[in-house]
Symmetry: C2
Subunit: 217 residues, 2 copies
Amino acid sequence: MKPIRLLIADDHPLIAEGIKNTFTSNAFIEVVSVVTNGEEAIDFLKKEVVDIALLDIEMPKMNGLACAKEILANYQPVKVIMLSMYQEASLIKELIEIGVKGYMLKTIAKDELILAIQKVHGGQEYFSSDVTKALLLNKNSEKVIQFNEKSKLLELLTKREIEIIGFIAEGLTNIQIGEKLFISPRTVDSHRTNLMKKLDLHNVAGLIRFAFQNGLS
Amino acid sequence: MKPIRLLIADDHPLIAEGIKNTFTSNAFIEVVSVVTNGEEAIDFLKKEVVDIALLDIEMPKMNGLACAKEILANYQPVKVIMLSMYQEASLIKELIEIGVKGYMLKTIAKDELILAIQKVHGGQEYFSSDVTKALLLNKNSEKVIQFNEKSKLLELLTKREIEIIGFIAEGLTNIQIGEKLFISPRTVDSHRTNLMKKLDLHNVAGLIRFAFQNGLS
DNA sequence: ATCCAATTAAGGGATTTCCCCTAGTCAATT
DNA sequence: AATTGACTAGGGGAAATCCCTTAATTGGAT
């Protein structure tokens, strides 16, 4: 029986190495490459055969979600398992929709990870128990789902708007922002209004939350 | 020359194993134990001799900071190196004060980790370059310093005030908060005013930043 | 050349925040 | 018994936001 060819993508070398070492004593799993971002993962898939891609959610350049989409769209039959630091229930929904076969936290034991890889390779799905629990718990919480929607919304914003939402998050008033940018406070108000319309928010609080969640602050 | 006796504490087995495996081929460093929280680390120190404790900041039961304090107070000459997922510049100040000898991100390469352990064991300090850069950058920015001061300020706040700052951060108006808590919007306004006075802030933005930085949101 | 998005600006009014003040009740501390 | 701190509530007014509207200018794209 041929070993399962595994690609690991994680921007933390220590973690990536740790995962890799988890399989050194396992004859059924072969780690064919360890990369540190989504782009490198795609580059590798262009050249080599991989059965399963184990992707970290948070990665620079191309994150796990974008990478998973790319793989599932253009590199079938490669199967994708996501790894994350946190329970991101809202993400899981999206991941399942695009065809990800597994999602687990980095808190899992290595035995469980091996089990997950074998199940997914055998055509099954595997979501670690604490993740599925989180899914159930958060079914009715819009909080995290907003986070995702907003991330896409970020692309809707203009340079000026992003600049201004940053100042708003810093606590500056329209007048102060106007002075900083040498524009009328009424203009700042316009941008503020447009921002709220685009993001479907209705007060500073929402704007600031958005800024925080999108690293604009 | 005796190898450096290293204790690893990290709640993520995968990461902990990864770190441990980093040293298997290194004759100068011996991993004497891998534990998953601060309490277990202390328990181990009661029984065995350890040169350096490598602690994750985020851990259940007893976190890295509490654990470091305990070690540096009662288990000298054990030296402490902190590991973290993020640049927590504000924490670093406190860590240095209590006597931690090193701080590094989990993004570092294993070579740098080995170097750090050897330097600290030799009596030096080691803070990875990206961490010290973050420290310098933030030296004159009140942002992070506020974070420390505010953490202490947090204790100044009453239960009701913490409750209300949370709702403010969620974007609720005084009227909405009043409805939620069955109190007059004027009372909410009072709490808001008191909050701003206590925290020396002058608008929602500041309150929300405070809420975010202190996990009140 | 035309269109479109981005940026600029403002009128005007409703709503909310900001911030001073006083003041009552209640529970815990001294 | 007196004090203190927390929570409650409101008067009142200045300031800022919220949010609709219209509109001029500009620079890049078709």
